[in-house]
């Protein structure tokens, strides 16, 4: 039985200056140790979700529970210790004047004694392979490196959950891969729960589960394979489908038959190879 670590019950939210609900009656669970991708086009409500989970905004109605605690003004600081966030813009979340100061920022806030801080900062930076850059200033780092420092800042607090709020959308392909590889390694090592809010479908394809948001509502929920079989529907929602699914589709139009949608190119290649033998 999968254990729920975050649960949303009938959550609705509206920004003060807007008529439309940014989130409308949203209910779902996030399970311990999973990688959940929340996808949707810009304005689908996925970013509002991140703000609610972290208590930066409170729902108009409904209930959010994180690690067994109901999220409200009293529990918020305890919940933030359990839930680390990496934001979109690498520059606008870098508080410290150097790499090590930035990682230490969260620890200082928690009142961790200095001796332990030094140890935790070093440890966290090693995990994201930035321990060579302790004294570096942010403007000498690439976007991907800054995001890795942000991840280290989160890790140092030893949270149970890490939320990537479009954390790779401003990076070049190399930076994106750097960041995702780092999170993948960490998740495997620490049994973290990862919530990645994204519109990068190749990133979502590697998640355990996907939630598709549209117009502030949960449009569909399922495994990547289930979600990508929605095909044209996803494109109508302003999203895209992974390359291997597109390729499979093109082959179908050429008269080849397949039993399923392949989420990896390797699977599709193998299938083509076998079908050649069977034709």
């Amino acid at each position: 039985m999968k254990k729920s670590i975050v649960s949303l019950k009938e959550v609705s939210f509206q920004y003060d200056d807007q008529e439309r609900y940014a989130l409308n009656n949203v209910t779902f669970d996030i399970f311990e140790g999973e990688w959940l991708a929340i996808v949707g086009h810009n304005g689908s409500g996925k970013s509002t979700m991140a703000k609610l989970l972290n208590g930066l905004q409170f729902p108009k109605s409904g209930e959010i529970t994180v690690c067994g605690l109901p999220l409200n003004e009293e529990t918020i600081w305890d919940i933030r210790k359990q839930l680390g966030m990496v934001f979109q813009n690498p520059d606008n979340q870098f508080v410290g004047t150097t790499v090590q100061d930035d990682v230490a920022f969260g620890l200082e806030n928690m009142g961790v004694p200095r001796i332990e801080m030094v140890h935790r900062v070093e440890d966290a930076l090693k995990k994201v392979k930035m321990d060579q850059f302790l004294y570096q200033e942010p403007h000498h780092l690439s976007g991907g490196q800054k995001q890795r420092v942000a991840i280290a800042g989160v890790l140092a607090l030893r949270p149970a959950i890490i939320i990537l709020d479009e954390a790779t959308s401003m990076l070049d392909p190399r930076g994106r891969e750097e960041v995702l590889a780092t999170v993948r390694d960490l998740k495997a090592e620490k049994q973290l729960t990862v919530i990645s809010i994204t519109h990068d479908l190749d990133e979502a394809a590697k998640a355990d589960r996907i939630i598709v948001m549209n117009k502030g509502e949960v449009y569909r929920e399922g495994t990547p394979e289930e979600i990508f079989s929605l095909d044209e529907e996803l494109i109508e929602l302003g999203l895209d489908i992974p390359f291997s699914v597109k390729m499979t589709k093109a082959f179908r139009q050429m008269g080849l038959t397949f039993t399923k949608n392949y989420l990896s190119e390797e699977e599709l290649v193998t299938e083509l190879w076998t079908s050649r033998l069977n034709l």
């Binding site: 810009n42 304005g43 959308s169 401003m170 070049d172 190399r174 390359f243 390729m247 050429m254 083509l272």
Partner: protein
């Protein structure tokens, strides 16, 4: 309008202790009507090259020819404004350059700086707004009340309204969702086709380079590492991979398939449709023989 870079070198903060060589011996020809993709890692010198295309930077060695205007190293170059009107640049995150009270005022700002009359600029603003897929009803709105995607389109309209012959795009789709990306790229492609606008796209996306460009230049460590048509460039994938660059997904797929099948297809295919046709043809023929 033809643009050509001849053995261009650029040093930042030349003759100071902070001097840094950004590009050297860069020669690129961009004949009128070309769609050229400029590819390279962050720091490869591609954004330095970009800034030479409308004389934002002037070479420390070599010559840049923009139309009939020659911009040479070691001399004071005049009349740069005329060049800048003809070469429009859409910078990365162009929405950051918006500043006027209304969308209309912001779009006519560029044209009017170049001496276009107000009535003509306003006419152009309407045309440009339509080109970027926005309605006239937003003309009187403040650009800061728009969504991020709309702001970007307004900024692009501001560059189009200058009436450039050449348009330079620096990662124009960064940060957009898949639909927004496709719409913007398709829009620039149709402008290129319909109005014969020379287009220079600076990008990380091999997919876009393969899909839209007819010439590709690859920059590495401040030099031109490779240039050619997409077919030529992507036929030699080993080199690209060695440079740490991606190849388009279609090409990557074809390579994997060829490896598995143990034989090569007749050429490199750059679109899903062409590749699937060629592969299924091959598979069917394979059965008969």
């Amino acid at each position: 309008m033809d643009i050509s870079l001849k053995s261009v070198e650029y040093r930042y903060q030349a003759n100071t202790p902070f001097e840094r060589l950004a590009i050297s011996d860069v020669s690129i020809d961009i004949p009128s009507g070309t769609y050229l993709a400029l590819i390279g890692h962050t720091g490869s010198g591609k954004s330095t090259v970009l800034q030479h295309l409308n004389a934002l930077l002037q070479p420390t060695e070599g010559t840049v020819l923009i139309g009939s205007q020659e911009i040479k190293a070691h001399q004071k170059n005049k009349n740069l404004k005329a060049v800048r009107q003809k070469v429009g640049i859409v910078f990365q995150f162009p929405e950051h350059q918006l500043f006027e009270e209304t969308v209309e005022k912001d779009i006519i700002f560029g044209p009017m700086n170049f001496g276009v009359s107000e009535s003509e600029a306003k006419r152009r603003a309407r045309v440009a707004l339509k080109q970027v897929g926005l309605g006239e009803e937003i003309l009187e709105k403040s650009p800061f009340d728009l969504s991020g995607g709309q702001m970007r389109r307004v900024a692009i309209a501001g560059v189009l309204a200058m009436g450039p012959d050449v348009i330079v795009l620096d990662e124009p789709t960064a940060g957009l969702d898949p639909r927004g990306r496709k719409e913007i790229m398709d829009m620039f492609y149709s402008l290129h086709k319909e109005r014969g606008l020379s287009t220079i796209l600076v990008t990380h996306s091999m997919e876009d380079a393969a899909r839209y460009a007819d010439q590709i230049v690859i920059m590495q460590q401040g030099r031109v590492a490779k240039k050619g048509t997409p077919e030529e460039i992507f036929s030699e994938t080993a080199e690209l991979i060695q440079m740490g660059l991606d190849v388009p997904e279609v090409v990557r797929f074809q390579l994997k398939l060829e490896e598995k099948l143990g034989s090569k297809l007749d050429k490199i295919y750059l679109s899903i449709e062409e590749l699937s046709a060629a592969v299924s043809e091959r598979l069917k023929r394979g059965v008969r023989s």
